[in-house]
């Protein structure tokens, strides 16, 4: 007679993690779910820990069906204790596990700032060896989530040596990068824009093989010759809309560089593109002051100043918390029209 554990193992994969296997296109959410599932199947030391991820399947249903298949030893439901379970992930990683920590909303990663920045980020450097942890969860605005369910907290961690930060913009990248993050021996923060989770326009059929997208490599999203837009996450898609408008209305040819990984930053790809187009706009949804655009501009300034034909510009959210009411949030967030206007300014400089 089969034990409970054995009968769990032979149980069929749920429908919603078989899309790629059966050649169907997936949303970004489904792509991430498949990556998580495949990595858990591949490696017994991978487990997921977080709030409401078991029976409920997670606030965004990312781990829906996982508990049935993997059991409570690999899908660990926690009390509301972000600092507690993030710190605990470090302990588990020390003992040879590869924890994937789910933040119900990435906004709550602030509660785990302490274990992340002080303990986890310094661990390898202090001689305690690799610390393979992924901290993943939904980020971003535009969903009327108010100031505490819409943040882009990358800059709080971008400044912390010892962490890696990933922020995908497509379904394929989300899957390939998450697999790379789980296999990486360093702690990785993995940001998933909640507005992209179920966006129909992101649906794509993924390669059936076990593909991995390496961390630290930017992706040329759109080739162009006149202006480089350096961006990531949701803003890749807003930049694409702007690029199409600029192409059609002005004949301006925009190149879009999707960073994919913020830490480590693919500086070489940025510099290469700037040398080609000589004009650059940095676009991000995070707020402006102390934002990543400042760092990117400075690197270009240091390494490619002679190739610039115009000042580096940036389009970002306003320097304010994220407002709840639609007219306020739209005013706060970068709009396609801002990107278009900034590009026109650069082109005519």
């Amino acid at each position: 007679m089969a034990t409970i554990e054995q009968s769990m193992k032979v149980r069929e994969k749920p429908e919603h993690v078989r899309n790629t296997e059966e050649g169907r296109p997936v949303t970004m959410l489904e792509a991430i779910r498949e990556a998580l599932w495949e990595e858990m199947e591949r490696d017994d030391s991978v487990f997921v820990i977080g709030e409401d991820i078991g029976v409920y399947g997670g606030a965004f249903k990312m781990t829906d069906g996982f508990l049935d298949h993997f059991g409570p030893k690999r899908i660990v439901d926690t009390p509301i204790s972000e600092a507690g379970f993030t710190g605990a992930a470090a302990g588990a990683a020390h003992m040879g596990m590869r924890p994937v920590v789910e933040m119900q909303f990435m906004d709550f990663v602030s509660c785990a700032y302490e274990p992340l920045t002080n303990y986890i980020a310094t661990s390898r450097w202090r001689g305690s060896g690799p610390l393979p942890i992924v901290i993943r969860g939904p980020v971003g605005g535009g969903v009327r989530g108010g100031p505490f369910h819409s943040q882009n907290p990358e800059m709080a961690f971008f400044h912390t040596p010892g962490l890696k930060i990933v922020y995908p913009s497509t379904a394929a990248d989300a899957k390939g990068l998450l697999k790379a993050a789980i296999r990486d021996d360093d702690p990785v923060l993995f940001f998933e824009h909640k507005k992209l989770y179920r966006a129909p326009f992101l649906r794509e059929t993924l390669p059936a093989d076990d593909f991995v997208v390496p961390l630290g490599k930017a992706r040329l999203d759109r080739e162009g010759s006149d202006i480089t837009i350096v961006t990531y996450g949701m803003m890749v898609h807003e930049s694409r809309k702007a690029a199409e408008q600029l192409e059609n209305e002005d004949g301006i040819n925009v190149e879009i560089l999707d960073l994919r990984t913020l830490l480590p930053l693919d500086e070489a790809a940025i510099i290469e593109s700037v040398k080609k187009t000589n004009r650059v706009l940095v676009v991000h949804e995070d707020t402006r002051t102390g934002g990543i655009a400042g760092e990117i501009s400075m690197r270009i300034n240091e390494k490619a100043f002679e190739w610039l034909d115009a000042p580096i510009l940036r389009v970002t959210s306003l320097d304010s918390p994220v407002p709840y009411s639609p007219p306020l949030e739209d005013y706060f967030l970068p709009q396609v029209s801002d990107i278009v206007a900034a590009c026109r300014y650069l082109a005519n400089y």
Partner: protein, 356 residues
């Protein structure tokens, strides 16, 4: 130090007057009817974000706030709600139209459309707007209580907490600080069965929350959260102790969240029959029955109160629906004392960076 109230005769021993009992009924009706209206508005897509209901636990928020010193000039007790304590804020003096405007993200909401639901402040009436990050308000209210102690004011700070919130480090640090300082802080843990989908058994390995009081060296007491009289008595005692310089109290009420975490939550994780069992213990129905059985009210009086509430809520709905959405530019004001500097290529900023 934990004590459990015998709820069976709490009503007959009450010191509340007939008028007060009727007023409590008014607030129970107000809470329930306002939430019912919000549910309708939510279904009509007029509520912008999520909707978090307190169905089945209204007695806790209403009766506990009713036990406090309520003023309108910033001299009374001060409370901080958790997400399901709208009823307590109504008792403190918040107006139904405020909640409607908050949920509908209107420009004349107490937060000018920047924030949602019960996340707003009124110092005059004695309540402070929370943030979503659970536990932080326990720390904040420890500071409110500490201030009352430092200034020698006979005021009390009360914070409501869900069972889930008790698991945060912030909850522990805040409560412990207040306990050590013997500050007049009351924390009411609303043990309502679930935190989102997580049952209490997965939130704490202890059978109850009141047991923790001893660990903090604080006073602890537990009661039936669906019993208005028991909650009112328990909080009255804790407030008297706090005013007397006897320090912090950790109170636990046993109640139940009959709706999902928010309206979108289908509650698939709830065992069959559980919600129905608690429906039979509905705190509003139970209170009505007690008032009638013990001669504190007639059915006509209760009906008149419910009808008055319905009229008030309809007026509030009309006002809130007529309210404008915020003007986009208002997003810029008061980030820090009006020091917002508009930047080029963001709204409010000059398009040409050289002229910004």
């Amino acid at each position: 130090m934990a004590a459990t109230t015998d709820t069976a005769d709490a009503a007959s021993q009450t010191s509340l007057t007939r008028d007060q009992l009727h007023e409590i009924y008014y607030y129970l009706q107000l809470t329930r009817q306002l939430e019912n209206l919000l549910t309708t508005l939510y279904r009509q897509n007029k509520v912008i974000g999520g909707l978090y209901r307190s169905l089945g636990q209204e007695a806790t928020a209403v009766a506990s706030a009713y036990a406090l010193q309520r003023r309108t000039d910033a001299t009374g007790d001060v409370v901080a709600p958790a997400i399901r304590d709208m009823g307590g804020l109504l008792v403190m003096g918040a107006r139904p139209v405020d909640f409607l405007r908050q949920y509908m993200a209107k420009g004349d909401s107490p937060t000018w459309g920047r924030e949602q639901n019960v996340h707003f402040t009124d110092y005059d009436r004695g309540f402070i707007g929370l943030i979503s990050h659970l536990g932080v308000m326990i720390e904040v209210m420890a500071g409110v209580a500490l201030t009352f102690k430092l200034r020698g004011e006979p005021r009390v700070a009360l914070a409501w907490s869900g069972d889930g919130m008790t698991s945060t480090g912030a909850f522990h640090e805040g409560f412990n600080l207040a306990a050590v300082q013997r500050a007049p802080l009351i924390v009411i843990v609303e043990n309502n069965g679930y935190a989102y989908s997580t049952p209490v058994s997965r939130q704490t390995a202890a059978g109850s929350f009141v047991e923790r009081a001893a660990g903090y060296g604080a006073f602890g007491e537990q009661c039936d959260g669906n019993d208005v009289f028991a909650v009112h008595d328990m909080v009255s005692r804790a407030a008297a102790r706090a005013r007397n310089g006897e320090g912090a109290s950790l109170l636990e009420v046993i109640t139940y969240r009959r709706k999902g975490h928010a309206e979108h939550d289908a509650q698939a994780y709830v065992p069959a029959g559980e919600i129905e069992a608690w429906e039979a213990k509905d705190p509003v129905v139970r209170y009505e029955r007690t008032l009638l059985e013990q001669g504190h009210a007639t059915q006509e009086e209760l009906d008149a109160i419910a009808a008055r509430v319905a009229t008030e809520i309809e007026t509030a709905r009309e006002e809130a629906e007529a309210s404008p959405m915020p003007e986009p530019e208002t997003a810029l004001a008061e980030v820090t004392g009006g020091t917002f500097v508009p930047q080029p290529w963001t709204r409010g900023g000059a398009p040409d960076p050289r002229r910004a």
